[in-house]
């Protein structure tokens, strides 16, 4: 299915807004996670804020980016499975969304704990994991951004057969 240039531009605009917005939200999350790691006393203020950023911004933007990006691929000449760079972006985004959704329970839980509980060793790993996952998520999203800008050439076997048959 193909759509007009106007609709494609709107989809592209929304995709950029959601994807880059998610990177910005993850950057804020990372900064707060770092503060929560190095200053446990700030934890009771920091982790509820991180939970709000996750629930109100990161999760909705991640899901919107995934849906809009998929839709955008399907209605343009790129397709979803024809070019490696598009396929790789899809896989990386799916990984980010899956890990994000698995971490939301931990983030929410941290937001309910008092400072003395956060200082306990069993929660130190969880506090560190917030920094680790936010940093990792940002790096993976930066990779998807690089793929979007450079669009490295290369057809998948499916794309190659599709081009040969058309």
């Amino acid at each position: 299915m193909r759509v007009g240039q106007g609709s494609r531009k709107i989809l592209l605009l929304i995709h950029i807004l959601t994807s880059v917005g998610m990177m910005g939200a993850i950057s804020c999350f990372f900064a707060l996670a770092w503060l929560g790691l190095v200053d446990v006393g700030a934890g009771p203020a920091v982790y509820p804020a991180m939970n709000i950023i996750t629930q109100a911004l990161i999760v909705p933007l991640a899901l919107a980016s995934l849906v809009i990006g998929t839709l955008q691929a399907l209605v343009t000449q790129w397709g979803l499975m024809r070019h490696y760079w598009v396929l790789l972006k899809l896989v990386l985004t799916l990984i980010v969304v899956a890990i994000l959704l698995m971490q939301t329970a931990n983030i929410s839980l941290l937001g309910t704990l008092p400072a003395d509980a956060l200082a306990r060793p069993e929660w130190a790993t969880t506090r560190f994991s917030m920094v680790l996952h936010a940093g990792g998520g940002f790096v993976v999203l930066a990779l998807t951004l690089i793929l979007s800008v450079y669009k490295p050439k290369g057809l998948t076997p499916y794309g190659w057969r599709h081009r040969a048959s058309s």
């Binding site: 698995m102 329970a105 839980l109 069993e122 057969r161």
Partner: protein, 59 residues
């Protein structure tokens, strides 16, 4: 699959950047697996303290 033909004589080749990316991704997976299997705590749900250690926020 690195190469195939469509019957017209032209052949399919997997791009070099895809092969390199695949190798890097495999190395990352191996490192994560080694970290998990060697007693590290990385992995989904492994960062949180067990439920019995959860603290009542009201404390």
């Amino acid at each position: 699959m690195a190469r195939s033909t469509d019957g017209s004589g032209s052949s399919y080749r997997t791009p070099r950047w895809v092969k390199i990316s695949g190798i890097v991704a495999a190395l990352v997976v191996v490192v994560l697996l080694v970290a998990m299997l060697s007693g590290g705590q990385h992995g989904p749900w492994q960062h949180a303290a067990p439920a019995h250690q959860a603290v009542d926020p009201g404390q």
